[in-house]
């Protein structure tokens, strides 16, 4: 087992264990639970009515905008992590660099705000 570092082997095993637990409980349960399906039970729930139209309807473009903004800001947050960890070694130089970086981030943020990307109800 030299090809995986020991610490990551633990993670791999725990992930496998977690998924196996889910799959096996569901699989073993198959032999014990009853199954009496009929049409009304199998249609999608819509407050007791027959479902109208497709459920995957058109939804607000706001969700898409939030996803795009998330990608931008999360990447920028990730850049802050190595900076924070090595801050002790780099000192003042790192501080000034990061202030510049956060300033650029803020410019983008203010732009998004002014454009109304953060307003949910417009």
């Amino acid at each position: 087992m030299d090809f995986i570092p020991r610490e990551y082997l633990g993670i791999l095993l725990l992930l496998l264990f977690g998924s196996l637990f889910g799959v096996l409980t569901l699989f073993i349960g198959r032999f014990f639970r009853l199954s009496r399906p009929y049409r009304e039970k199998l249609i999608a729930y819509e407050s007791g009515n027959e479902p109208t139209e497709e459920p995957r309807m058109r939804f607000s473009v706001k969700f898409y905008l939030i996803a795009i903004l998330f990608v931008l800001f999360d990447v920028e947050a990730i850049y802050l992590y190595p900076w924070a960890v090595t801050y002790d070694f780099l000192g003042l130089f790192a501080l000034i660099e990061m202030l510049l970086f956060i300033f650029l981030l803020l410019v983008g943020y203010v732009y998004a705000w002014k454009k109304g990307a953060l307003e949910w109800t417009k």
Partner: protein, 321 residues
Amino acid sequence: MHILILLFYIVILFAVVMLHVAYATYFERKIIGHMQVRMGPMEVGWHGLLQPIADGVKCFFKEDVIPENVDAFGFRMAPVVSLAAMVGALAVLPFAPGWVIADIDIGLLYIFAMSGLASYGVILAGWSSNSKFSFLGGLRSMAQVISYEIAMGLSLVGVMLLSGSLNLTTIVEAQSGTFGGMYIFPQIIAFGIFFVAMLAETNRVPFDLPEAEAELVSGYSTEYSGMRYAIFFMAEYVGMLVMSALGTICFFGGWSGPFAVPFFPALWFVLKVYAFMFVFIWIRATMPRYRYDQLMELGWKWLIPLALANIVVTAVCKVLF
């Protein structure tokens, strides 16, 4: 370490966590019951102590309804994805000195990754269910989780600055020793942001919009029944445990306490985590639900700028002092 010993530790951790999940539901129902001047579960066993076991057995034997229009594979796998990701996040949590499955140097980053992965289960469930309520619940959950993920990630940068590490064991060791060494004192603002983001990430009240029962029935889990529903439930409670543990480790000094406990060094850690769980439940019994636009406004217009300001202030203070 031998692989069998590692497996043994994993089995123990998993069993303890599953027991915790079962009794966390009991804990929640009892506390909410008493806060509303009721008794909570009383029938099964002494003061209802066997209630979680009865619930588990019941869910196991219940019919597993799979509606006809679902995407079968996604629908079947979604709860498992949620649970596996959340259980995976347990690997890096140090419960006491040396009591950790994987002492990796990127522990914090790994927990973020796993909690992000767990939300895939929710989105998959919402999409594959082919029901309007599930679909809306899944969408809301996605937007909410990614919005607060940024605030949470930024709030913990202050902790990284102070401890100079992403390794959770190192973060705890950096705080141990004195009472004032806990990062809650210098990072009180970060803790506030982290706490709000933690509630939103785990879809708890007051941010439980993905499963707002008054408007979305049960959100992404509307079409689920029986054991599949129970697995979603487990994933949610393991998620609460992971987030409580993360808060304990980053702000309250993890396992360190006023005196060392023989035989069970994790005692302080467990007490702190349960204090967090109690606050989760307390908030659920107290607060009304947020409106969706208020939720987004809070996340994007308040928490993110505040977290950035906190990073700058912490960094400047570190240079000055």
